[in-house]
Symmetry: C2
């Protein structure tokens, strides 16, 4: 067979990921050429600013400010959208699709919110969209979900997919920093944005689990149905109690098959020190996937940053140029834009074990008024921990923390009971309620 001609590619948006991608496509051109028989040609970088590109040694001749001119190049086959944000990015992708170009994007927010339409549009136009970079940076989890694990009915995904949150929680755990101290350090080290809201609120993790849910379960979940709790309310006291009880606190993006349906949520959770996810510290990410055949598999690596994300972007570019991804896109059923959309997300119907920390006034009857509320909701207490650490958060030294661990309980009952506990005259006005995520049961061991 004759050597195919090289495939022209354009990068739109040249920030951190765009620069790293351009570096791979130019500096590592020979390496890529040895790994696939279809050579790539980076023909355009569409960007207003050249400064970071210049610092990275990229050829200025590649830069083209006019997106229309790029889209009009009939030879161009692949457009890599790395502008970020929603509206501009969507417009770039739509223009590319309408011009008959394949698309590669790392834009998790856009895909979580408008993925289905974009994928339908691409399918109608006979082009494909690569999005390996959208869920966990350099970890090839997207391929694992639709391809490597295709024989599995996926039962659960527990994912640590925000490096900023994981770094902050690791610092709180290992260095006993408060949330604010750890956040400030992360900002100083460039591991958190000046405005860290998207990360610490859990929204970024929610974008990623929305995409993974569609791939894994064959059911799209409307983004606005996903309950999202961030790490802002985690106190050092909770981190310490977690440790004392044999757990760590991690921000988990969770999708689980429940009797009531597929449920998806993002929240800080207690996870056992024996679970592999508990070992994932600092800026690293990991995704645990439970399949009915493989049982537990986990995928670990850097989930953000220029080069790791560019690695995933480039894998999609190579796959499209080789004709592999377009085929996958056509053939595989659990793909964005092909799946039915869930009408609800019955998180309140799920059941877990829970940790509750209540600040209680050290008075007779305080504990029993709480336990009778729990009893009223039919909630069974596994253990109570009340030690002599005085409350150092509030000013009132008469409040002491009481930790109650619940047996498996429906979420709705726990939240209702917590509201009543908060209203008691003998307690502080906001108890911490944290889900305990137990190891998902493995399929029966077979040889």
């Amino acid at each position: 067979m004759s050597k195919p001609k090289s495939v022209p590619v354009a990068i739109v948006g040249c920030g951190v990921v765009g620069t790293a991608t351009a570096q791979i496509l130019t500096r590592d051109r020979e390496l890529l050429a040895a790994k696939t028989r279809t050579p790539l040609e980076l023909r355009y970088i569409v960007s207003k600013t050249y400064s970071s590109a210049k610092a990275a040694g990229l050829d200025e001749a590649l830069f083209e400010p006019d997106l229309g001119k790029v889209m009009a190049d009939s030879e161009l086959q692949i457009v890599i959208e790395l502008v970020g944000g929603i509206e501009t990015a969507r417009s770039v992708i739509e223009q590319a699709i309408d011009a008959g170009k394949h698309v590669v994007t790392a834009n998790k927010a856009l895909l979580a919110m408008h993925g289905a339409e974009l994928f339908e549009r691409a399918r109608s136009a006979g082009v494909s969209i690569g999005f390996e970079a959208s869920c966990a940076g350099g970890i090839p989890i997207v391929r694992a979900l639709y391809d490597g694990l295709v024989a599995n009915r996926i039962d659960a995904i527990y994912a640590i997919v925000n490096g900023t949150c994981n770094y902050i929680l690791s610092q709180m755990t290992n260095e006993r920093k408060s949330y604010l101290q750890a956040l400030e350090e992360a900002q100083a080290d460039g591991l958190a944005e000046a405005d860290p809201t998207l990360d610490v609120s859990g929204l970024d993790s929610a974008h990623k689990i929305a995409i993974m849910t569609s791939l894994a379960f064959g059911q799209a979940i409307p983004f606005e149905l996903i309950p999202v709790d961030g790490i802002e309310a985690i106190e050092l006291a909770d981190v310490k109690f977690a440790e004392k009880l044999g757990y760590l606190i991690k921000l988990l993006a969770i999708a689980e098959r429940q009797s009531s349906g597929i449920t998806v949520r993002v929240r800080p959770a207690f996870i056992s020190r024996n679970h592999p996810l508990a070992w994932v510290s600092g800026p690293f990410n990991a995704v645990s996937v439970y399949g009915h055949v493989t049982g537990h598999t986990m995928y670990y690596g850097r989930g953000a940053g220029g080069p790791p994300t560019a690695s995933a972007v480039t894998a999609d570019v190579v796959s499209i140029a080789s004709g592999v991804l377009p085929r996958t896109f056509e053939e595989f059923g659990y793909m964005l834009g092909k799946n039915p959309v869930a009408e609800d997300n019955p998180v309140a119907d799920t059941a877990h074990r829970y940790y509750i920390r209540v600040m209680v006034r050290d008075s007779p009857g305080a504990l029993s008024s709480m336990t009778s509320i729990l009893e009223h909701y039919g909630i069974s207490i596994a253990s109570v921990l009340q030690d002599e650490v005085a409350d150092t958060n509030g000013g009132e030294s008469t409040y002491v923390p009481v930790v109650i661990i619940l047996h498996t309980t429906g979420e709705r009952a726990v939240l209702d009971a917590a509201s009543e506990i908060n209203a008691l005259p003998t307690t502080g006005d906001r108890c911490s309620v944290i889900t305990i995520v137990d190891e998902y049961p493995e399929p029966a061991a077979e040889d």
Copy 2:
């Protein structure tokens, strides 16, 4: 586009993995049909014995003892080779290729030793070979190496790919069992074969790293060039010292890019408790891959057993039926049978830190005669640990263990020095020399 006809498939060999694969292809037929637009039809199971298949509820009508009849079915598109062993399996695969069938196999020994010829034969015949199941059971590491990480120059692979060894070493570490006790328990639990040689000798791990090396580095390594040490010589004393020093002992399959070339070896190694591979215990496997763009990514799961291996086999069957794997097989450069074959495996030229435990007669001058040998070879000592634990292995209580940790040193010098130390009148006749595998340096952190 019209719905394609279903793709007929045959399984040859119906042991543990064959049975599990047949179960997926029958019991889970609807699930698979929802995940890909090309339905599969399990048409034949070629096997002499029906007993395990019957127990698993497989339809007896699927069984066909005559392989020739199966190969003569011109509609049959995919042959799954699960007979194991070398010669019979090779013959099955060759017949399938020559009959124009695609092949899926889990046979690591066969591919490590004869993969290149089989892949060339398949390529000439215009068919593909799927082998996801050959390296790490249910962990989709083969796809990660050639596809997901394609943008990377792989610099190193450290792999725990034998569950039997990992289980035995975990039991020695956690339960303080001796090697023989742990082996017997593993056999009683069905986690080790009656003849465990293939596993505990490291040969099974060597088969797997040989395949992974070709995929990752684009260079095939002749199997006979891979030095293989198993876990049989690991003593509880070494496990305890490892722990005292902040390490665990794991059987690692290692492939590394060195200035002298790609080096491949299997050996027990000290690995830091902070390295993610140290967390992999019991029957689980994991593969750490270091790429020049992603840095460290790790893939974790069950590396053996019927259902996990069948998950990987089925992924290949789906991929072939969908036309994806044949395309990949054609297009991707670092694929078995396409890579140049290394002429040597310069392991002796590598440099590491090392642990040496010597049983020393408690006499004046014993330590200094060892250190002068090390000095003679230009080897620099990082630390010496001599505590008061008496030798409980030999009968002579006058021998005490002395542990010496070396700074980074060339392997050749260490082995030569160890031989001289063994010959000293004041030492036992075989010191333990164990490589310390440090975290592979990450690429410079970028944002």
